[in-house]
């Protein structure tokens, strides 16, 4: 009986803890977004984040998209040949890339690259009292640190994904033309005929949401980092894990909203 009670208690405590942390994240998100619209604005910080989050993620996102597009063409060709449906390769590549793979994979790569570095940087600032120092110098840490990162994440990821779309489709095209011997004209026209605006728009919407989530989780975990090297380490891990999971969850939700 006590064993049963104890396990019920544990489940309850875990659930309450989980709900409380959702509340804390939501509160943090609300505060951060509130500060986006009220000055003072730190333009130099914003531009630096555009570079850090956007420009420097280009190689990672580009390579991911390129090889994903290439392998997609190869896989769908060998798979579809079993049903004599090789002709669908162009359509599969362009739809998969724009709707799903470019935003999700770019989101996950950026979560690893940017989410981790945001959490580590802000976490270190928390631990070394630099965030307190900002407050004592009458600069709001939300406006100085959080807002530029969240804005940059939300605005840069769609651009990265758009570039990723192009590179990914190009990767599929390369393999289809040079390895699978498709005709250039028919492949391109098939790709173009299949694609609809909503495919790209839904992908870019996902990208914006993922960018927001990644930078938000990086900032949240860094801002609330525990003490010492261990605290910053845990903050970094939590930022990457939580943003990756949120990306997968929201990917489903957004897909449902757009296509059902």
């Amino acid at each position: 009986m006590t064993l049963l009670l104890n396990s019920c208690q544990n489940i309850g405590a875990t659930l309450l803890g989980f709900l409380a942390s959702i509340g804390r994240v939501a509160f943090f998100a609300g505060q951060s977004v509130g500060h986006i619209f009220k000055g003072p604005f730190f333009v130099r910080n914003l531009l630096r984040q555009f570079m850090d989050i956007g420009y420097y993620s280009l190689p990672v996102v580009g390579l991911t998209a390129l090889f994903t597009g290439m392998v997609l063409a190869l896989q769908s060709y060998t798979g579809f040949s079993r049903f004599n449906a090789e002709g669908a390769v162009a359509a599969v590549v362009i739809l998969s890339i724009t709707r799903e793979l470019a935003p999700v994979l770019a989101g996950l790569m950026v979560a690893g690259r940017v989410g981790a570095s945001i959490a580590a940087e802000i976490g270190t600032m928390r631990v070394t009292e630099q965030i307190d120092a900002l407050s004592t110098l009458s600069v709001n840490p939300y406006k100085y640190l959080i807002v530029p990162r969240i804005l940059a994440g939300t605005l840069m990821l769609p651009i990265l994904v758009l570039i990723g779309d192009l590179i990914g489709v190009f990767g599929g095209y390369l393999v289809s033309i040079h390895v699978l011997d498709f005709g250039v004209g028919s492949y391109l026209s098939q790709s173009w005929d299949t694609l609809e605006t909503i495919d790209v728009v839904s992908g870019l919407t996902k990208a914006a949401v993922f960018g927001f989530l990644v930078s938000l989780m990086g900032c949240y975990h860094g801002f609330n980092s525990g003490r010492g090297a261990q605290g910053v380490g845990a903050a970094t891990t939590n930022a990457v894990v939580s943003s990756s999971i949120l990306i997968l969850v929201f990917n489903y939700v957004i897909t449902q909203v757009f296509f059902s």
Binding site: P40, T128, E129, Q130, D132, A133, S135, S138, Y144
Partner: protein, 257 residues
């Protein structure tokens, strides 16, 4: 006359641990108060409550008679403009060069243009006994003592009314510690500022303080001048200033056991 800083029955708990159990404190304008006490007695939390970095659970904190525990964020940002703070580890922004660290409050808090802010920053860097050539270095390129001095320059750059010092001499060699003590004394005198310092370095406390308050177990248990401190028969003070392992401070806790 209203006190510059007044704390009344300030209570703060973290989880089930009650860190501040009713702090009462008052500092007159232009006075330098040093709070002494062992590690974990609530010194830092007291300081952070006055700075508004931590919100107390109950009690009142007044600056110039104005209650600050109920301020909105932007009102608090404005209040901060009359404060300067020297953090224990320096807390310099490692992404900015030294001069921008010193000028940070001027540029962002007071909206001064960069050229005049740099001029003032260079003056403050000199005032803490350092060469102007460090201005374009990054904090990581400086030694611990130099970082502390730059941090002091940053704290006084905005000519604050109130300066807070968190363990200003911790981690410094005795000579550098004395240099910092002298600088603090001089800066406070030059600015006519009110100062609140927390430390467990008695040499530093004697040098900086007009008045000393001792905190133990979340409460102020004694306060008076340096002279009164040396002549008191308060056993807690006695034990602390002579640094004995045996005494009332350790008997009632598990430090020795």
């Amino acid at each position: 006359m209203t006190a510059k800083i007044e704390m009344n029955n300030v209570v703060k708990s973290f989880g089930s641990k009650e860190v501040l159990k009713g702090i009462n404190l008052s500092i007159e304008k232009g006075e330098s108060l040093v709070i002494i006490g062992g590690s974990g007695t609530g010194k830092s939390v007291t300081l952070k409550c006055v700075l508004g970095l931590i919100k107390p659970d109950s009690g009142s904190i007044k600056i110039d008679g104005q209650e600050i525990t109920t301020l909105e964020t932007h009102e608090h940002d404005i209040l901060m403009r009359q404060f300067g703070m020297l953090f224990q580890g320096g807390a310099l922004f490692d992404s900015l060069p030294v001069w921008e660290n010193v000028a940070f409050g001027l540029i962002h808090g007071q909206k001064m243009d960069k050229i005049s802010a740099r001029t003032i920053a260079l003056k403050k860097i000199k005032a803490v006994g350092m060469d102007e050539s460090v201005a374009d270095l990054y904090p990581a390129e400086l030694s611990g003592g130099m970082q502390k001095r730059i941090s002091l320059a940053r704290a006084i750059a905005t000519t604050p009314d109130v300066i807070f010092f968190d363990e200003p001499t911790t981690g410094l060699d005795p000579i550098m510690a004395d240099v910092i003590n002298n600088l603090i004394r001089q800066c406070v005198k030059d600015l006519g500022a009110t100062a609140m310092t927390i430390t467990h370095d008695m040499a530093s406390a004697r040098k900086i303080a007009d008045k000393i308050a001792m905190i133990h177990d979340g409460q102020i248990i004694w306060s008076g001048t340096v002279e009164e401190m040396d002549n008191t028969d308060n056993l807690y003070i006695e034990q602390f200033i002579h640094g004995r392992a045996e005494g009332p401070i350790t008997n009632n806790s598990d430090i020795v056991a």
